[in-house]
Amino acid sequence: LSDRTDGAPIDRERYTDELLSLDMSFSIAERLLNEKETHGKQPVDTLKDRMKQILVSAPLIEPKCGILMIGINGSGKTTSIAKLGKWYIDRGHSVIVGAGDTYRAAAIEQLSILSDRVGMDMVKAMPGVDPASVIHDTIMAYKHRSKDVVIADTAGRLHTNVNLVHELKKIKSVMTKAMAGDKMATYLIVDATIGKNSFQQAKLFNENIGIDGIIITKLDGTAKGGIIFTICDELKIPVVAIGTGESAGDFMVFDKDKFVEELFV
């Protein structure tokens, strides 16, 4: 999007195309560009303000707490656990993770390597074991070892798979019960390269499981993740963090002003 400051009115067609290319929905793009110009303000600045107003952000959950990581296949859940873990560790907290993906090949090995790298404890079981029981055991370890943060990994799943959504409901209820009053957040991991389907994911996972925050990954590519405008606008779910690469340090707390500014050149 071009960041012009010459006061000229916005070229609606060109800006519509640019907003669409961010994966913003047509209705939001139209709404943003059809509102009357604000007097005394650069048209582009008015647009930026309106975009910022749509976005919802929230801070990461404060320890002592538990976090349940959910999302579709390949969205970046396991990698984001390493990032989130490192973020809490850098701030002086201790982290334990639960290898709740007992299905996918080498999922436990992947999380184990990442946990060692970042310095987190990990609880695992044999592949094929009920994920709810691994997560339950992880919460027990979180309590017994007096850890500050417990993060549960889950297997990727499509929001349209009824059985897997049901499994996730059970995982969450087991985790909630095991947390026994400690705070807990469910974070949906959204891949920035995905289009409108991310909204369907957020909507259905929220209806069935309940989502407290969104982490949007792979923003280091060319995708802009504009679907979060729709997610925030319609579902009011906050974005809490962004992933900007494959290493544990490629992680930032979500800053909606910065996010919008970076969409403009």
Partner: protein, 290 residues
């Protein structure tokens, strides 16, 4: 669905008598929104609507008995034309190499084993699998676990952290009685020039019979930049679209076919190793039109 929307619109319009050009533009606007909501790239939507409008104007839609069906028919024909036909991955049993490339997390490793199974079951070709992903934690283990679970020979020497695994690849594969080789690569960004040129070098060393771009069916606008980036940087012969079994409208498939014009070999329709089927253009068009 688009079909219902357009039918409703025309039912409303036809009550007023003959259709005007404005009425047609209204219908095209509805189609535009539906295609955008289906994740078709805005550039492709424009081109598509242009060619639909031309065909419609030349065919006296206004006088048609059933304008909505007529208009949808033209759109459907246009989409089917863009889809092209599915094509099989072109390999013979002579030590041919198939190399899988793509963005992170699209399903390359899983698809490598799916493709092995497909070729074995459908064409009786015995696959040899090898991963050259030395970056992602447990990437080699993932391919090995999947391959072994399905009885496919796979390179298990993961000690050599470099391209040693490729040195005598055809020889090793032939020694195991295998007919062809599937090479899994690490996910990478099309804008990562170092990793893309590394991949290009590997391709030049291997000289694969087929390079396959593995794409997530749910992709949004980024599909074109990505597909063009990989074509420029590495080059590929066609694509496999994964995670096709969800509720995505799959507009990325249409954008890919319109702009890149390489065949789509298969679609991944689940996590199971058997979940791979030939690309079905009619199925995709039905998702959009209804």
């Amino acid at each position: 669905f688009l079909q219902e929307k357009i039918t409703k619109l025309f039912d409303k319009l036809s009550k007023r008598g003959l259709l005007s050009e404005q009425d047609i533009d209204d219908a095209l606007k509805d189609i535009r929104i539906a295609l955008l909501e289906a994740d078709v790239h805005y550039r492709v939507v424009k081109e598509l609507l242009e060619s639909v409008k031309q065909k419609v104007m030349g065919e006296e839609l206004a006088k048609s008995i059933n304008p909505s069906q007529f208009l949808l028919g033209i759109l459907k024909a246009e989409l089917i034309r863009i889809m092209g036909d599915p094509a099989p991955v072109k390999i013979n049993g002579t030590g041919d190499i198939v190399m899988l490339v793509g963005l992170q997390g699209t399903g390359k490793t899983t698809t490598a084993v799916k493709l092995a199974k497909y070729m074995k079951d459908k064409r009786g070709l015995k696959p040899y699998l090898v991963s050259i992903d030395f970056n992602r934690p447990a990437a080699q283990e993932q391919l090995i676990t999947l391959a072994k679970a399905n009885g496919f020979p796979v390179n298990e020497d993961i000690s050599s952290k470099g391209y040693e695994a490729l040195k005598d690849l055809r020889l090793v594969s032939a020694r195991q009685g295998c007919d062809f080789i599937i090479v899994d690569t690490a996910g990478r960004l099309h804008i990562d020039t170092a990793l893309v040129s590394e991949l290009k070098q590997v391709k030049e060393t291997l000289n694969p019979a087929q390079t396959v771009l593995v794409v997530d069916s749910m992709m949004g606008h980024d599909v074109l930049k990505m597909a063009e980036g990989f074509m420029q940087g590495v080059g590929y012969d066609g694509a496999i679209f994964t995670k096709f079994e969800g509720d995505t409208r799959g507009g990325a498939v249409i954008s890919f076919r319109k702009i890149i014009d390489k065949p789509i070999f298969y679609t991944g329709i689940g996590e199971a190793v058997s979940a791979l089927e030939p690309f079905d253009p009619d199925k995709l068009v039905a998702r959009i039109i209804g």
